[in-house]
């Protein structure tokens, strides 16, 4: 039986087709993710997980009392609304963009479970047949060699997750690419790139060691263009992929 090498680089695997579709008239995924993190760490306390906890404000459906445009939203976020509970927030432009991007996509993020399957069954697949914990980690369980998925449900839609499970090779976030380094004495080091500059690279190796390398000390340094994560269309049924996506969507962090 083929051993499933599960480097489920879900954070890093993306669909080029989807990229082209989602760009037109929409927001950068990176901004949406940043906004989701900020929302669920702060705004959620008043606005609630569905964005409907403040009377007459439905963030999820973009029904606001004091804003129409994105610029209005930024103004409300940074200046607050006097006489209400909405405070002024000292956020830089990137974080402002993020919150606006998340709010504009909140409904899609929270409701895009149409094609996702059963999270309970998906969890069994994740921990069993899928072999995902061999590379990924969720809430403190599993390997750290591939990206931690504890908050993946905040960051990805069901459609995107399923596409990535089927075709992980289609696109990988550049930073998550695996690297292969050979030192002057012939030692081979493989791992996932965490950071890089002109003269050095920082990675987590296959034994979960945090390793810093000086490029001048290496005989060979290669950034791999392929991922070792299997294409699950060859491993799981469509129904199972949907269930797995359902589980991943349910992962929204422990806090």
């Amino acid at each position: 039986m083929r051993k499933i090498v599960c480097c489920l680089a879900l954070l890093g695997v993306l669909s080029a087709l989807q990229a082209a579709e989602e760009h037109v008239g929409t927001y950068a995924e990176i901004d949406i993710e940043r906004g989701a993190r900020i929302y669920f760490s702060g705004c959620v306390l008043c606005h609630g997980p569905n964005g409907d906890a403040v009377p007459q404000v439905q963030l999820r459906s973009n029904h606001f009392r004091h804003a129409v445009s994105d610029e209005d939203l930024m103004h409300v976020i940074t200046s607050g609304i006097p006489g209400t509970g909405m405070p002024a927030n000292n956020l830089d432009g990137t974080d402002q963009n993020g919150i606006v991007a998340f709010i504009r996509n909140m409904d899609q993020r929270l409701s895009d479970t149409t094609s996702a399957g059963d999270a309970t069954r998906g969890k069994l697949l994740f921990e069993g047949k899928g072999g995902c914990l061999g590379c990924h980690r969720v809430n403190g369980v599993g390997s750290r060699t591939a990206p931690d998925l504890s908050e993946i449900g905040l960051m990805r839609t069901a459609q995107a997750l399923m596409q990535k499970l089927r075709e992980p090779q289609s696109l990988i976030l550049p930073i998550n690419r695996s690297i292969r380094a050979v030192t002057r004495n012939g030692t081979v080091i493989t791992g996932r790139r965490l950071n890089e500059d002109t003269w050095s690279v920082q990675l987590i190796d296959s034994k979960e060691n945090l390793v810093g390398l000086q490029k001048a000390d290496l005989r060979q340094y290669t950034v791999l263009k392929t991922t070792s994560m299997p294409a699950y269309k060859d491993v799981l049924s469509e129904a199972e992929i949907a269930d797995l996506a359902g589980y991943l969507l349910s992962l929204k962090g422990q806090n």
């Binding site: 990176i30 994105d70 610029e71 696109l171 550049p174 930073i175």
Partner: protein
């Protein structure tokens, strides 16, 4: 008593240096006193080139840290310090001023300024530096004031309101002193301001003249704006200009039109956005202009430092202006009249296929959803370039292989709110592109953009290139010993051989460099100083 005083003056490294006010004449000849650094770019021609040569290609490897001054600010320092007779003056973001002993980094005094709450700066509460005339320092503030400060004790002398910060005006630029006037421009291009450059009397702070970078109804150039769109047309000027005393012209780069990504809301060429303007420094009268990016849709501010070069062009001596623009093209202009002499891309460009005989871009608009090269932050930006009269090369910090997908959305102007007209997103969904935000982790990697120092000859032909993994916001300094000092986001400060780009020395500074280096000399020892992370570092050779 007299003997005591005389002895102190003879001592190298005396606790006080001879006090000589920085006259306009000294500013005119700043390059002739390389022991000091008297203006933002070191001299009116803005070459950021020093005649100092003690540190050279042979001994630079033994360059050592002499002192560090930790800034009391977590904002990004973009400051280029001044050095006058052994005293270093620098800004601590947003708008504090610090006077240091340039030998030791110990502070003489600190002027603390608290800007009005609610000031608006799109991209960080930054400040690029000071100007000095006589014994007075000048700083522009993020709440749009110009303040004169006594260079001896840090006391404010006058405080002039330049513009209304509540609608989005701010000052981040280091002012430029010409004769008896303090000249500066405003920021606010992301808030739909109407930009301007203005001059203030050095003694009183009263406004002497104002050049509006966007023409009003009835003025020449208004025909390049559709309807009332000029009223919120942007055109800030947030990088220090240059000056040619013979021509009596000061040159300033003008920023993006407003809304940034809303070209459909402002049909026309949108003068004088994304242009260089040549002004009479006595009156503010426009002598000529050259527009790099008419009807901009990519936020291609032309707020680069104008570099003035006197050289042969087509066999005859000409007064030139070299300009590596945010739009990806390198230009050579005749600075007497703004005539376009030549221009070529210095990075990958796909928004235009080239420049026509007048220097106007031959545009090649990309389909919706497709990446535009260079991306929103441009091929370069405010990062000071350098020109060495020894190598005859122009050096620029560039972003290579970098693109953005532009998304347009109509914007309605509301005073004091962002007026953007869309946004720029990374070409790979879910990935981070390099952006104005600087973090210790390079999560975009070279696949979405990388950095380089590019050496161009005066025709724009690349002579050499030093490539870095991360993009760079650092300025460049060159010296008479053919050294080039720069750094970048990766947290290193380094010296290259200005003739071939070879790395000769490198030091970790533990944080990104978004400022430009300077050099000065004290007691016969050459120093090189750079702001990095949240500190100012000074290096010299071990003696």
């Amino acid at each position: 008593m007299r003997i005591f005083t005389a002895l102190l003056l003879l001592l190298p490294g005396a606790l006080w240096a001879q006090s000589v006010p920085v006259t306009y004449d000294r500013l005119l000849h700043a390059a002739a006193e390389p022991q000091n650094w008297l203006t933002y770019s070191g001299s009116y021609d803005s070459r950021r080139f020093s005649k100092l040569s003690e540190i050279n290609r042979s001994n630079v490897k033994s360059l050592a840290l002499k002192w560090v001054y930790q800034l009391e600010s977590l904002q990004k320092p973009e400051t280029s310090p001044l050095v006058v007779n052994g005293v270093m003056y620098l800004t601590q973001p947003p708008n504090d001023v610090v006077a240091l002993d340039a030998r030791s980094g110990r502070a003489f005094w600190i002027y603390q300024y608290r800007p009005a709450p609610g000031y608006k700066v799109c991209c960080g509460a930054v400040n690029r530096g000071l100007a000095i005339l006589g014994d007075t320092l000048y700083i522009g503030t993020v709440d749009a004031h110009l303040i004169a400060i006594d260079a001896k004790n840090g006391r404010p002398l006058w405080n002039t309101t330049v513009a209304d910060y509540t609608v989005g005006y701010a000052i981040t630029v280091a002012p430029l002193v010409i004769k008896d006037k303090i000249i500066l421009g405003v920021a606010g291009g992301e808030y739909g301001v109407r930009g301007f450059i203005a001059a203030y009397d050095a003694k009183s702070g009263s406004e002497s003249w104002r050049f509006n970078t966007i023409p009003a109804a009835g003025e020449k150039g208004i025909e390049t704006w559709e309807g009332d769109s000029w009223k919120h047309g942007g055109g800030p000027a947030w990088v220090t200009g240059s000056y040619d005393p013979e021509l009596n012209l000061t040159y300033w780069g003008i920023g993006n039109p407003g809304p940034d990504w809303g070209p459909g809301q402002r049909e026309g060429d949108n003068l004088y956005t994304d242009s260089v303007v040549a002004l009479n420094p006595d009156t503010g009268a426009l002598q000529w202009y050259f527009q790099f990016t008419p009807h901009d849709s990519s936020d291609f501010d032309s707020v680069q430092v104008p570099v003035l070069i006197d050289a042969l062009w087509d066999g005859r001596a000409r007064k030139l202006m070299a300009w590596a623009n945010r739009n990806g093209f390198f230009y050579m202009l005749d600075r007497t009249n703004g005539q376009f002499l030549g221009g070529h891309p210095f990075v990958k460009v796909n928004w235009a296929s080239g420049l026509d005989a007048n220097g106007r871009p031959i545009e090649t608009p990309q389909p919706a959803g497709e990446p535009v090269f260079p991306g929103n932050q441009g091929a370069t930006n405010w990062y000071s370039p350098s020109y060495s009269p020894r190598t005859h090369l122009f050096y620029v910090s560039a972003w290579e292989n970098y693109s953005s997908v532009l998304v347009f959305a109509p914007a309605e102007y509301r005073a004091g709110q962002a007026f953007l007209g869309g946004r720029a997103v990374p070409p790979i969904l879910g990935a981070a592109s390099p952006s104005i935000r600087v973090t210790p982790i390079n999560n975009y990697t070279a696949e979405l953009g990388s950095g380089a120092v590019i050496a161009l000859d005066l025709t724009g032909a690349p002579r050499w290139k030093f490539e870095t993994t991360a993009v760079t916001d650092a300025g460049i300094l060159t010296t008479a010993s053919d050294l080039l000092f720069t750094g970048g986001r990766e947290g290193y400060f380094y010296a290259l051989d200005a003739r071939n780009g070879k790395v000769l020395w490198r030091a970790p500074v533990g944080g990104p460099i978004s400022a430009a280096p300077i050099t000065y000399e004290l007691d016969g020892r050459q120093y090189v100083a750079i702001a990095a992370g949240h500190a100012l570092f000074a290096y010299a050779l071990e003696h």
